[in-house]
């Protein structure tokens, strides 16, 4: 169950004020009824361009453009778009986090497969390649559309590109339910709490998910700013228990992008470890950029 979250970082000088963010949200809401068809068509075309065949794109009619605060950050959420396919459908969401503090705004695109079946692990590299390509192209398109729709409202500020943040998270479904928490921990961690490089499976999955050309075991030596971090997440088991499960992330820079790629074993009832922990990690990193 891979989830890709991709954000373009934008700095404003001077900083945005809340009234401007409300204005952008109102402009997006006002244009939405007529613009949503253009939005769906653009996603379909961009999906086709990156090699994702789609029979159509459906916009969730139960949702509307929403303005909310995520912590202290004003957010404008667009309704979910579902890329309909013969195989697994893909969920795509765009949102704009318009920062009114001394941090960058983020234009986010989140992509993940729909349904409980997930993907075969053999296809992980190809699926992530497609998701990343689609996330980047949709994110860039959405950013340009926001500028077209609400650029005048932001005219008093100078906006400069401040890089990219990508958080890719892979939840590897564990079908057997008789595992103990210790089994999951020992798969992921070495005795010192670092990544378990003695686990070939972990190394292979991480190498593929991060598209590494270097040995995963030596990546932090070759890239001194890279580091490993783990994030816990509470997930619900089939028997109703809440259990804490960890995901191990490799965090590094690639050109102007900060990339975090995480792998975790997922024995949750809904198979939602990846989407849940990805959101948590996204918030933690985004709130510091």
């Amino acid at each position: 169950m891979p989830v890709v979250r991709y954000a373009t970082l934008l700095r404003h000088d001077p900083q945005l004020v809340t009234a401007e963010t409300v204005g952008v949200a109102e402009a997006m809401s006002a244009i939405w009824p007529e613009w949503k068809d253009r939005y769906a068509a653009a996603i379909a075309a961009l999906a086709e361009r990156v090699g994702i065949s789609a029979s159509g794109v459906a916009i969730n009619s139960h949702e509307e453009v929403r303005y909310r605060l995520d912590g202290k950050t004003p957010m404008i959420d667009l309704p979910e778009a579902v890329i309909q396919r013969n195989s697994q459908n893909i969920s795509l969401r765009n949102c704009a986090a318009l920062c009114v503090h001394d941090f960058s705004s983020k234009v986010w695109t989140r992509i993940n497969g729909l349904g409980p079946e997930g993907h075969e692990v053999e296809s992980l590299g190809r699926v992530l390649h497609d998701y990343r390509a689609l996330a980047k192209s949709c994110g860039d398109w959405f950013q340009s559309e926001v500028e077209n729709i609400a650029g005048d409202l932001l005219a008093p500020t100078r906006t400069v590109n401040d890089g990219v943040l990508e958080i890719t998270t892979v939840g590897l479904r564990v079908k057997k339910t008789d595992h103990q928490a210790e089994d999951f921990e020992s798969w992921l961690f070495d005795s010192a709490g670092g990544p378990n490089f003695a686990n070939e499976e972990f190394c292979d999955f991480m190498s593929e998910a991060a598209a590494l050309t270097d040995d995963v075991r030596t990546i932090t030596k070759k890239q001194p700013t890279a580091f490993w971090m783990s994030m816990p997440m509470a997930v619900r088991m089939v028997n109703g228990d809440l259990a804490s499960r960890s995901t191990m992330y490799l965090v590094r820079t690639i050109d102007d992008m900060i990339q975090a790629v995480g792998i975790g074993l997922d024995d949750s009832e809904a198979g939602d470890l990846a989407s849940e922990v990805a959101l948590k990690v996204s918030r933690v990193l985004a709130n510091r950029l």
């Binding site: 912590g71 990544p195 971090m229 997440m233 028997n239 965090v251 820079t253 948590k280 918030r283």
Partner: protein, 365 residues
């Protein structure tokens, strides 16, 4: 959070973030093992339609019942602590004697029991309180104090029927503490929910309040029950369990999945327990509510709510002639989420970090 420069390179940004994540507050060694001691378990399925958010707010009514006198105390035990060896006269002798070398005090079981007239009064007050809370406030959740559910030596079936009927009819959750059930020997609370099982779902106190002479048998599998209802993940525990580190730490450890902790109580020491509730509400972060009996002398507060590290006594919104006090808490879900996210983004929470570890921040290796 560390300061950032306006012209940082991606490498500088990452170095700054790494330094912040790596600045660990020491964590006490007990916090790691709690999942092996106690767990949190949801009682409703993921398919339960009542999990969904209904509106922008969730209203919780806290019902504090008048105190009840323990009319009778009945001893129940499969073992006779005072007997030794084959001389035990009870139960035909076989299997009823205390093993040699075992402290007899560890074998004693004493249950609270109420006379029929007391149970009748409790039932009438319970019905009146339930109906008044529904009619006046239309709550999503009603939580009664410990001993709030009428009982003789186990809860009255008509009280259980009433609680379930009201829950089903009004689409609300009813949570009620009870007494020591003579069938299980446990101090048992119940949750009744629309579409849920008619007898309710029981949850048990895991520790004994030794200082007040409480002698119970704790369930072997210690679990904090939780229910996902109206957009809130609500955990429930009984009274002194809120003062038990393993119980609280097990909830905090899965704090991503718990918003509110409701604690039916029956105690004069609610202020002491409230200091723990405050810490817990900070650590979750979320809301912890202590629902006490309504002390007629007004010494022990009927209801204390700790919210994100701060605490307040709720002013009763309704008092009934029978001595019932009803307090109301409205939770604005957007505001709740906003506060929670703001707190989890704060890296300077060393107090809760030492107690429980940080579940909202990554660990850097």
């Amino acid at each position: 959070m560390t300061e950032r420069s306006t012209e940082e390179t991606p490498q500088q940004k990452l170095a700054r973030i790494r330094a912040e994540f790596a600045a660990h507050t020491p964590v006490n060694p007990f916090s790691e093992m709690v999942e092996t001691i106690c767990g949190v378990t949801f009682v409703n399925e993921t398919t339960d339609i009542h999990r969904k958010r209904r509106s922008d707010k969730v209203k919780i009514a806290f019902v504090s019942m008048p105190p009840v006198a323990l009319d009778d105390v009945v001893e129940h035990s499969s073992l006779h602590p005072g007997c030794r060896g084959a001389t035990c006269p009870a139960e035909n002798g076989a299997g009823t004697t205390a093993p040699e070398g075992v402290d007899p005090r560890a074998l004693k079981r004493v249950l609270a029991s109420f006379k029929p007239a007391t149970a009748e009064r409790m039932f009438n007050e319970f019905r009146e309180a339930l109906e008044a809370a529904v009619e006046r406030f239309h709550p999503d959740v009603i939580c009664f104090n410990e001993l709030g559910l009428p009982a003789e030596d186990f809860p009255l079936s008509r009280a259980i029927d009433l609680a379930w009927d009201m829950s089903d009819k009004h689409n609300m959750l009813v949570i009620a503490g009870s007494a020591h059930d003579s069938r299980t020997l446990y101090n048992t609370g119940y949750v009744f929910r629309p579409g849920g099982p008619r007898p309710g779902q029981g949850f048990h106190k895991s520790i004994s309040a030794r200082a007040v002479g409480e002698l119970i048998s704790a369930p072997a599998s210690r679990r904090v029950a939780a229910v996902y209802f109206a957009g809130l993940r609500i955990a429930m525990m009984i009274c002194i369990d809120v003062a038990d580190y393993a119980s609280i730490a097990s909830v905090v450890k899965v704090g991503d999945g718990v918003d509110v902790l409701l604690v039916p109580c029956y105690t004069p020491k609610i202020e002491d327990m409230n200091s723990i509730a405050k810490v817990t509400s900070n650590a979750l972060p979320g809301i912890v509510a202590l629902v006490n009996a309504n002390d007629p002398d007004g010494v022990a507060k009927p209801c204390l709510v700790a919210s994100f590290g701060s605490s307040k006594a709720l002013t009763p919104a309704l008092k009934l002639p029978s001595g019932v006090s009803i307090s109301i808490l409205d939770i604005d879900l957007a505001e709740f989420q906003q506060t929670r996210l703001s707190m989890t983004n704060d890296s300077n929470r060393s107090d809760v970090a030492f107690l429980f570890g940080r579940r909202d921040m990554p660990s850097v290796s």
